[in-house]
């Protein structure tokens, strides 16, 4: 079979010859289905986008689709009000200070642990792994009081940490890591385990140490999995509200952007239309992360259980 080299950026034309496509009528129907599904899926988001450019009076009196026909009554009010929210700059910074370590730590620790679960033998391995999966079900709210009580006893409150010159976010990083590790280990173990064992055997023959195998073989081959994990952990932490409020509080100097934006709305819900603009604003960073990691979602050189 003479197929063009499957390069990462070209997608399907290499695998499906045009003749096959037309044979199956797959082409046109496929595109209609794909585009149709995507557009239908986008409707709520588009609705929100248009709503974010409307005045509150218009929002409560008519549906967003009416804004698409004259008279167009668009306004930047919601965005300008949202952007001039006090503390937006500081809270954006806080969100980065929180999200980056709270992503790096669990992904790294999960990679270490998943490697051990997948390719090392030790007593109780299966049971510990199973327990980890079970821990996915622990409802977070029940952990707040026991854990924060211990943290206060250990003196790890934001005030004491700031006074000691350390970032006040340390308990929050550890919390997000702790909460995110079960899923991360679960996901990565699955991908690591799927790597063909002869890779490891030949590496051993070549005298490669554990670290070399990990950094030079396992990680590069698991890039799509790690990229997925980074995306999810990052956006779960970026969009988190409650865990941040519990572990670090909502005071202006430490509040992440989720707190600042949700507090745009008055305690009775006044000005809830500002949340429509806020939603798009806070979506930007996770989407940028997603898009920049997209290039890792390519057909890997050899990641998959070939020995089916």
């Amino acid at each position: 079979m003479t197929i063009a080299v499957a390069s990462p950026t070209s997608s399907t034309t290499a695998r499906f010859s045009p003749r096959w496509l037309s044979d199956r009528l797959g082409g046109f129907v496929l595109h209609v289905v794909v585009i149709g599904l995507t557009v239908a899926w986008m409707v709520p988001t588009i609705g929100l986008l248009i709503t974010s450019f409307r005045l509150p009076a218009d929002i409560s009196n008519s549906g967003w689709w009416t804004a698409l026909s004259p008279p167009f009554k668009f306004t930047f009010d919601n965005y300008s009000q949202m952007l001039s929210a006090s503390n937006l700059g500081q809270s954006l910074f806080n969100s980065f200070m929180i999200s980056i370590p709270a992503t790096v730590i669990p992904v790294a620790l999960a990679a270490f642990a998943a490697y051990a679960f997948a390719w090392m033998k030790f007593p109780g391995r299966d049971w510990i792994f199973l327990a980890l999966v079970g821990l996915l079900a622990v409802p977070l709210q029940l952990t707040f009081i026991p854990v924060t009580t211990e943290l206060v006893k250990l003196g790890l409150t934001p005030e004491k940490l700031t006074a000691a010159g350390l970032p006040p976010f340390i308990p929050l990083w550890l919390a997000h890591a702790g909460y995110g590790l079960p899923f991360s280990i679960y996901l990565l173990s699955n991908f690591f385990r799927a790597l063909p064992s002869d890779l490891f055997e030949s590496a051993e023959i070549d005298g490669a140490g554990t670290l070399t195998v990990f950094f030079r073989i396992v990680l590069p081959l698991s890039v799509p999995a790690i990229a997925s994990l980074v995306i999810f952990q990052f956006l779960w932490v970026w969009n988190d509200l409650l865990v941040a409020l519990i572990y670090v509080g909502g005071v202006a100097s430490v509040a992440p952007v989720t707190v600042t934006l949700v507090n745009l709305v008055g305690s009775y819900g006044q000005n809830y239309q500002l949340l429509t603009a806020a939603a798009f604003f806070s979506m930007i960073v996770p989407l940028v992360v997603f898009l920049s990691l997209q290039r890792y979602f390519v057909r890997g050189i050899l990641a998959g259980s070939v020995k089916g």
Binding site: A57, T148, V259
Partner: protein, 433 residues
């Protein structure tokens, strides 16, 4: 060697400069700070900051303010962990009372100026802050609000020749007149996310107070009077008269009531032709009216009359609510702030900005920014029987069940007996702590 020495000395001097700059920028000796937790977000947060500005300017104390609508969960966690804020303001005292019972909040008798307080506040507001009835003040009220305001569009009334009813019977007559002219008299909206049902609970508690009086009212929220008792059941059926059979007196009926957010519920009054004529809500609703329709003017386009008395014996009875403060950590800065919050000067700042009423009699009527808020304040001052919001004084699970009961009753008024029985069952357990 020489280069290494140079590098090291450069680094050292750099470090010294940086340290000097860092230390230099915080040259003013800090007068301390207060950690404050409240539910005021958005524009209300701006108002609270305006209230605190003279305080911070004068004392140099920093206010570390955090707000969240999930305050119950946050505060419970922080108190349980041993890391509570110094001061907390709550829109409902039930959680603060729980803390008072478990000894987590400080008594304020020696902290605020009790003589001044007793001179400037009506005794009802002070007794409210002594929930354990042991003479110890655990909660202080800084701003209050009046419930049971029936909003209407004066132009609509004028067009149809309707008069503002001055008695309960007159209200029922008016309701009937409007209905027979083909429009639903009432607009009611019960949806409120996690708190759905509370507007209806306001109706019922206002009726209980006006119909059966303060003694029954108190016994009821204290859990000593059953929900299925004749007086409380009567209040529900009276509300049923307002709703009409099958909720026919309400715009959109049961479905619309349950699906409409309380903030949007009153706006059909201003449509042309109006979809309803009256709406029962507290004074904050005006900002929602104006947000949905920027051209509306207070006084000409919307006005209110107090819910008419149901029985002459309890005339002039009103349900009120307020923002209660408690202190968790007794620090000098927190004490200063607590004292500041009870003064007329502090409270007047928010009053002038609109949206709050002060319980302090020293705040002049002239400070209220418009005619509507002035009349609300006057009613509050003149009211003979002022009772605090019953739901907010019940334990949280009782109050939540109360709200759910409203939703169920609105869906089907015939289920009243089973709804009340369910409430009784919850009442039996909720008050044991």
């Amino acid at each position: 060697m020489h280069q290494l020495w140079l590098k090291r000395s450069l680094l050292l001097s750099l470090a010294a400069i940086v340290t000097a700059v860092a230390c230099g920028t915080s040259s003013t000796p800090s007068a301390g700070s207060v950690n404050v937790m409240a539910t005021w977000t958005g524009a209300e947060q701006a108002s609270f900051m305006a209230v605190m500005k003279p305080f911070t300017d004068q004392t140099g104390i920093t206010i570390n303010y955090e707000a969240s609508r999930d305050q119950d969960a946050l505060l419970t966690t922080r108190v349980a962990a041993g890391n509570p804020p110094d001061l907390a303001a709550a829109p409902s005292p039930s959680l603060l009372t729980t803390f008072a019972k478990s000894g987590k909040v400080k008594a304020l008798n020696t902290i605020v100026d009790m003589t001044a307080l007793q001179a400037q506040y009506s005794p009802g507001w002070i007794t409210l802050g002594e929930p354990l009835a042991d003479g110890k003040l655990y909660q202080v009220y800084s701003w209050v609000s009046l419930k049971g305001l029936i909003w209407y569009d004066p132009k609509n009334f004028q067009a149809k020749g309707y008069n503002v009813p001055n008695s309960w019977d007159a209200l029922l007559n008016l309701q009937q007149t409007i209905k027979s002219s083909g429009t639903t008299p009432w607009c009611i909206g019960l949806e409120s996310g996690a708190a759905s049902g509370w507007p209806g609970s306001d109706w019922v508690k206002e009726i209980v107070l006006s119909q059966s009086g303060p003694t029954v009212y108190d016994a009821w929220w204290q859990g000593k009077q059953k929900w299925s008792s004749p007086e409380i059941k009567l209040a529900w059926t009276t509300w049923g008269q307002i709703l009409g059979s099958n909720d026919s007196n309400v715009y959109g009926g049961a479905k619309n009531m349950s699906a409409t957010n309380f903030g949007d519920a009153g706006t059909p009054m201003f449509q042309n032709p109006p979809k309803c004529y009256m709406h029962n809500q507290a004074s904050f609703i005006t900002s929602f009216f104006q947000s949905a329709n920027a051209s509306l003017q207070p006084g000409t386009d919307f006005n209110f009359f107090g819910l008419p008395d149901i029985t002459s014996q309890y005339a002039g009875a009103h349900v009120v609510a307020g923002d209660a403060w408690s202190m968790f950590n007794d620090t000098p800065q927190a004490e200063k702030m607590m004292k500041y919050l009870t003064t007329a000067d502090a409270q007047a700042i928010w009053v002038k900005r609109g949206g709050k009423i002060s319980p302090n009699s020293q705040v002049p009527l002239a400070d209220y920014p418009d005619a509507l808020s002035k009349s609300t304040a006057q009613i509050l001052v003149a009211t003979k029987i002022a009772k605090y919001d019953a739901g907010d004084q019940m334990p949280s699970d009782m109050r939540n069940a109360y709200w759910s009961a409203v939703l169920q009753f609105a869906q089907n008024q015939n289920n009243l007996n089973s709804i009340l029985a369910n409430l009784d069952a919850i009442q039996a357990k909720a008050y044991t702590s």
